[in-house]
């Protein structure tokens, strides 16, 4: 399966000249752009592909049956088929809705919009195929007033409508730029993010606020009042800000998007800004909504940042990391892995009308998505050619650096010019503020005066209205009294009428006077109001050209910034490639170092052997010499003994001679006395002769002694010499021992060097492997989200499928499909959707614990991996996982228990949980594990399932 093509460093070379033709499908363009750094263009194995695509597209792994079927499928386009099947499944939109929920809300608490409302709105939108820009526009313009669209307002409302928080999150989530640190000063670590960018975006959102409206709700006969929080908007002002590092220098900005100039906002006089003016419990509506403008500018398809942000996020969703990574740090010093591809993805996403499903499909079809997970074996072969590439890149770098420096300098100049233009504008803008304020006050005073006139008029009117009937009555009373002059009561009444007429007439006169006064009082504020207008107009007139200059300066600044950005990104991008190639180029040396140190070990081993041999030889020499000394000692002993013997013999002979002499003399004396005794004479003679003879033989004895003495001397000489030789050898021993020890130490050092070199090499390889995952040569390791982890365990333990079957049976029972309906794909799809929804509802209660342990904190990015002991304690000792792995109708544990052979159990286990066949080693291990556990096989099987579910291979998508 693994096809190795040794097309060295293809991916590292310049991409110019590669096809970017309009008619090519996006996945082909992706393939062309991201060729593996190792030249190894092989794809991952089928079982890996199936697990990967299932987890990425549906949020859960495949079943064992799906794995078997896919492995057995021999059609050449089976991967495309799987991708399309998964994309069409109800779980795809479910998983996508969950993904977008996490991206947009980051597990913030639901204070104003219930989670279900929001989630279902997302889900329905995605099921209906709503394009991303439309979804985004609905979110960015939502105010929570329209019932149907209220869920969309959750983005604002559950951020408490806080404009700084919204600025940060809209910057991050919709534009890929985390401007947080630029709130109080230019970003300390990112040259690209300026305080003006933050406040420009804030200016779109600062007019927004939460308003609480009381609404009457009718439930049957009951009427209750409830409070509804809405997102309202006021008319906007310029924002002023200063850096905490450079206090005293004030800046001003109107609304503007990152990399754009301040928007052209229609001028309105104070008092004329609103369709609905702000008031307590009223959702104000300005004539010009900055927020709507923001939504329009972002989503009209031409905003590169908006387009590339989502393209990059969807890419990261599939590949485990963005072309720009982290996905909310698009900036100069953090270039895309491939800048051209980043541009292309943004353009294509926009061109395909922000169709999320279609875009994901293209990514899934690409070879890049299907790269293997295992470390390439081809690395060293490629590495040997890297040195040349390093030289080329370094050469290229010199030019790029110069260009980047030049454009950075140009940018600094443009920035200075813009600062100057801004400084010139600010006083006039401040004047306009003052004039507007004066105008607004004059207008209010005039309004008050007008209101006073109206009031006086109305009072007068009311009085006058009373006067006529009272006059009529008075006249009538007078007529009556003329006819009945004596009627006193009538007289009193007539008088009363007359009196009233007078009173009212007086009051009317007073009111007339008051009206005249109020009317006269209008003149001054009218005049003041009239006088307040020219300063406004004048300031507007004066400001216009200044603003225009500022706008021009800013356009120049932005152009300089774009150029600087392009150049800096090119340089940074080259540096990243250079880093990889350098690491690659270093590999052969590191590999050689291992070989060299191994050779040194061999040499040292030989040296040690030689030294040890020499030592041993020396030791035998010493033994020999000791033997020689011993034998010399023996000779000395022997010769000394011989000498003593000779001396003893001599002494005895002397005794004998003495005795014979004495006998001879005695015999002679006797012979002398008996001269004729011939026998005697003969005896005497013989004794004498004998004596003489003996005396003569004495010399021999002496000679013998001499010889013996000589022997002793010579033996002693030999002994001395032998002893000396031995001593000499003994003296030489430490030197031999020392060289053997030294040789040993050197060998150990050499061996350690091998280990160290190997470690350096391994570290280099690990680093490179990481780089290869970053440049998409290898597949990334994607930690499962808490939701994915939960669904995956439910799936692996059979709980999901069991719930599905139960729901399917219930639906079928309640509303059975006719045979005809069963042939209708639309009916079947609707049915599947319904079952999916019911299964989800049934099981979603399990998500909470996983989110609690595996989810990041509310309001934090949810993609960063972390592993903590409390998670492991939850998995090891908590109720969920331990409960789910128990044997139950047809789940993997039960199938293992029922398997006749342990090999079958192993097969079931690995196909279900790992979505692949077990290796021989794994089968043996399972067999060994189950051996001796016949009595509690279910428990043992449960332990094995637990062991795989908690292993790293399960925890990650790869």
């Amino acid at each position: 399966m693994r096809v190795t093509v040794s097309l060295a460093l293809f991916g590292l070379l310049s991409l110019t000249g590669l096809a970017t033709a309009e008619d090519q499908p996006l996945h082909v363009l992706i393939n062309n752009h991201l060729t593996p750094s190792t030249g190894d263009v092989s794809l991952c194995r089928d079982e890996e592909f199936l697990r990967r695509a299932s987890l990425d597209l549906t949020g859960m792994p495949p079943t064992a049956d799906e794995v078997r079927a896919f492995l057995a499928d021999e059609s050449p386009d089976k991967r495309t088929q799987v991708i399309d099947r998964l994309l069409a499944s109800p779980q795809f939109t479910r998983h996508l809705a969950t993904t977008l929920d996490l991206m947009l809300m980051e597990r913030r608490s639901n204070t104003n919009v219930p989670q279900d409302d929001w989630y279902n709105w997302l889900l329905t939108s995605l099921r209906d195929g709503k394009p991303w820009n439309e979804l985004a526009r609905e979110i960015l313009t939502a105010d929570g007033d329209d019932k149907a669209m209220r869920p969309a307002a959750r983005f604002y409302l559950d951020r408490q409508s806080e404009s700084n928080l919204l600025t940060r999150d809209i910057g991050r989530i919709f534009f890929g730029r985390d401007l947080q640190c630029a709130q109080c000063h230019d970003h300390p670590n990112i040259n690209d993010y300026r305080q003006a960018d933050y406040h420009g975006l804030l200016a779109f959102l600062a007019p927004g606020y939460a308003v609480v409206r009381k609404e009457t709700v009718k439930e049957g006969d009951k009427e209750t009042t409830k409070e509804v929080t809405l997102y309202a908007e006021k008319a906007g002002n310029d924002l002023t800000f200063e850096s905490v590092f450079n206090q005293g220098t004030l800046h001003r900005t109107g609304p503007r998007l990152f990399n754009d100039v301040v928007i052209n906002e229609p001028f309105t006089y104070p008092g004329e800004e609103y369709e609905v003016a702000p008031a307590d419990g009223v959702k104000s509506v300005p004539k010009f909504s900055r927020r709507s403008k923001l939504a329009e500018l972002a989503t009209d398809g031409t905003n590169r940042m908006f387009n590339e942000n989502m393209a990059n996020r969807l890419w990261a969703h599939m590949l485990g990391r963005g072309l720009v990574h982290p996905v909310d740090l698009h900036h100069i010093d953090n270039p895309p892995t491939d800048p051209e591809l980043m541009t292309l993805l943004g353009e294509r996403f926009s061109a395909m009308n922000f169709d999320i499903r279609g875009f994901i499909r293209e990514i899934a079809l690409s070879q890049t998505y299907q790269r293997p997970f295992d470390q390439s074996e081809n690395v060293l072969a490629v590495a040997s050619e890297a040195a040349t590439t390093v030289a080329e890149l370094e050469q290229e770098r010199v030019t790029l650096e110069q260009t980047a420096q030049a454009s950075a300098a140009t940018y600094e100049l443009a920035l200075a010019a813009w600062n100057a233009a801004e400084a010139a504008t600010i006083p006039v803008a401040d004047e306009l503020d003052t004039a507007r304020k004066a105008y607004d006050e004059a207008r209010k005073k005039l309004d008050e005066a007008d209101a006073a006139v109206s009031k006086a008029q109305s009072e007068l009117g009311q009085k006058q209205a009373i006067l006529t009937p009272v006059e009529l009555a008075a006249t009538a009373a007078q007529t009556a009294i003329a006819k009945l002059p004596d009627d006193k009561e009538l007289g009193a009444a007539a008088e009363k009428f007359a009196q009233r007429v007078k009173e009212i007439t007086d009051a009317v006169a007073a009111l007339k006077k008051a009206l005249d006064e109020k009317t006269a009082a209008v003149a001054a504020p009218t005049e003041a109001f009239a006088a307040a207008k020219p300063p406004v107009d004048e300031a507007v007139t004066r400001l216009a050209p200044l603003n225009e200059t500022l706008r021009l300066a800013e356009r120049a600044l932005l152009e300089a910034r774009r150029q600087m950005r392009r150049d800096a990104v090119a340089l940074a991008s080259l540096d990243e490639r250079l880093e990889i190639v350098q690491a690659l180029a270093a590999l052969p040396q590191l590999d050689q170092a291992i070989a060299d140190s191994k050779a040194t070990v061999a040499t040292r081993e030989a040296e040690l052997t030689a030294a040890e041999q020499a030592l041993n030889q020396h030791k035998s020499l010493m033994t020999e010499r000791a033997t020689a000394v011993a034998s010399a000692d023996a000779v000395v002993t022997m010769t000394t003994a011989s000498l003593a013997e000779a001396q003893a013999a001599l002494a005895k002979r002397i005794e004998d001679i003495k005795a014979v002499q004495t006998a001879a003399e005695t015999a002679q004396t006797a012979s002398d006395k008996l001269p004729d005794d011939t026998v005697l004479a003969e005896a005497a003679q013989k004794l004498k002769e004998r004596s003489t003879a003996l005396a003569t033989e004495m010399g021999q004895f002496e000679t013998a002694i001499e010889t013996a003495t000589e022997d002793v001397t010579s033996a002693k000489a030999v002994q001395q010499s032998a002893t000396q030789m031995l001593e000499q050898a003994q003296a030489e021993l430490p030197a031999h021992e020392q060289s053997a020890a030294t040789a040993k130490t050197e060998l150990i050092a050499a061996q350690e060097q091998v280990v160290q070199n190997q470690a350096t090499f391994d570290a280099g390889m690990a680093e490179l492997t990481q780089q290869f995952a970053s440049d998409f040569t290898l597949a990334s390791m994607k930690p499962l989200t808490p939701e994915q982890l939960c669904w995956s365990i439910l799936k692996a333990t059979g709980i999901y499928d069991r719930a599905w079957q139960a729901e399917a049976a219930e639906v079928e029972k309640a509303t059975p499909l006719s045979d005809e309906q069963k042939q209708d794909p639309a009916q079947l799809a609707a049915r599947e959707l319904e079952i999916e929804q019911r299964t989800y509802n049934k099981l979603k209660g399990n998500l909470g614990a996983f989110i609690q342990f595996y989810g990041a904190a509310a309001g934090q990015p949810q993609g960063d991996f972390f592993a903590t002991a409390d998670q492991a304690l939850f998995a090891a000792n908590g109720g969920s996982v331990n409960g789910w792995v128990a044997p139950a109708s047809g789940n993997v544990t039960e199938r293992m228990v029922n398997a006749e052979q342990p090999t079958t159990a192993a097969e079931q286990l690995y196909l279900t949980v790992m979505n692949r066949h077990p290796s021989d080693e794994e089968t043996q291990e399972v067999t060994a594990y189950l051996a001796g556990r016949e009595a509690d096989r279910a428990t043992a099987a449960q332990e094995l399932v637990w062991g795989l579910i908690t292993s790293a291979e399960f925890r990650f998508n790869h």
Binding site: S163, Q860, A952, E953
Partner: protein
């Protein structure tokens, strides 16, 4: 002084050996975090230098006038007298007699002005060293310190919060530093959640399944070793350590004599548990005392509350000093703010952030020192005015951490403390 790294029980030794044995099999060379774990000797060495931070959080806003900065005999002073301490010239309120005797270890910061009288916002400022701007979500001092101080190979949680009531689980106090540095809660001093093997699983079977998990991991890691996959495997070893070292979290293992000394009330138990945790090398411990929000009956309430605090805190300081642990442990006593000098009609004091006190001891803090001063009746700072950002820098510097450095969080360079502020240089030794 020598502090044992984790614990020295036989079981622990056995477990570690078996772990080493397992991991060594089939592992050519190790890179990354797990490698460090395999060298316990380094742990011992580091432990001697290991800096620790313990935070005493006085919930609700403790009165500076009834504690660290008394003003007896003035219109704002209240009924209590001030008493001399073990440091000539420094006086504290008479409600703190035992603590007064430990003053030679303490450093009082008397010119604190955090300019925020709302509980939530004030707490945010004091614990994160920053003003809450809405968009911000900053990590608390404990999480920052834990990230800076926890050794890579430290098996137990590096950041522990002893909560006054129930609770348990993981707090939400580390913001962008990630849940790894969030505090693990010991609800009312109880051991961590899920740290007991369920009855249904025998120790032997657990060992077997863990062993199988390890071998499976090793096979996977041999295909491609990454920091994340190693960290994941390591979290299970950490969990096992926590199960085996569950005693570390059990204050009843402390001598009865000490339990008596610290006091049998919650704060006493929690303080003793904090000592135990620090002795076992926990880098950051936080404990709280509630509730000082004395809008009514400020004085009666402080008599009662400070009785507990004085006893537990004085024992704690004394013990750490006796054990030589003050050289490496920074003690911080903070609150969201102080209380108004003006006594209200209900004999209460209200929220007051403009002239109050924070106390530190140990590490780089001067011993027996009072920095800053308020005026005669405590209504304003007249010397050494510091705010939350200065204090935050100082806490970190105090524990030997460069507060002007940045963390790299998944590619983001994030300053540890507000880059536009600075520590109180004058007191750092």
């Amino acid at each position: 002084m020598s502090i044992s790294y984790a614990c020295n029980t036989v079981e622990h030794g056995m477990a570690r050996r078996s772990f080493l044995g397992t991991m060594a099999a089939g592992v050519g060379s190790l890179t990354g975090g797990l490698g460090a774990f395999l060298q316990p000797a380094i742990g011992e060495e580091l432990m001697r230098e290991q800096k620790r931070v313990v935070i005493w959080d006085m919930h609700g806003g403790i009165s500076q006038l009834e504690t660290w900065d008394p003003k007896p005999g003035t219109d704002t002073g209240g009924p209590f007298l001030s008493i001399p301490t073990s440091v000539p010239g420094i006086h504290v309120c008479e409600l703190m007699p035992k603590t007064a005797q430990q003053m030679h270890h303490l450093c009082l910061i008397r010119g604190v002005d955090t300019n925020e009288d709302d509980h939530g916002l004030g707490r945010y400022k004091v614990t994160t060293g920053r003003k809450m701007t809405g968009a911000a979500n900053d990590p608390q001092i404990g999480a920052v310190a834990a990230k800076a101080l926890t050794p890579e190979n430290y098996a137990l949680p590096g950041h522990i919060m002893i909560t006054p009531g129930g609770g348990g689980g993981r707090s939400n106090d580390s913001a962008y530093l990630g849940p790894k540095y969030s505090s693990v809660q010991l609800g009312n001093g109880k051991p961590p959640q899920n740290s007991l093997l369920p009855d249904t699983i025998t120790v032997e079977h657990d060992a077997a399944r863990q062993e199988y998990r390890r071998r499976q991991n090793e096979r996977f890691l041999s295909r491609r070793r990454t920091a994340t996959s190693e960290a994941y495997g390591y979290s299970y070893e950490q969990a096992l350590q926590m199960m085996q070292q569950r005693d570390v979290f059990d204050v009843s293992k402390e001598p009865a004599k000490d339990q008596e000394r610290y006091g049998t009330h919650d704060l006493g138990r929690h303080a003793l548990l904090a000592r135990r945790l620090l002795e076992h090398g926990t880098p950051v411990v936080k404990l709280s005392h509630s509730n000082y929000d004395t809008h009514h009956e400020n004085f009666n309430f402080h008599i009662e509350q400070l009785g507990e605090l004085d006893r537990a805190f004085s024992c704690f300081v004394e013990d750490l000093a006796d054990r030589g642990m003050l050289e490496t442990t920074l003690i911080i006593v903070l609150s969201e703010f102080g209380r108004t000098p003006k006594v209200n009609s209900r004999y209460g004091r209200d929220h007051w952030s403009h002239a109050w006190s924070v106390v530190m001891a140990g590490c780089r803090m001067p011993r027996g020192f009072a920095y800053g001063a308020t005026n005669d009746n405590g209504t304003d700072v007249v010397d050494g005015r510091v705010d939350h950002a200065n204090l935050f820098h100082t806490y970190l510097q105090g524990a030997g951490v460069d507060s002007t450095a940045t963390f790299n969080i998944e590619g983001r360079e994030v300053p540890l403390a507000d880059p536009s502020s600075h520590p109180i240089e004058a007191i750092l030794t």
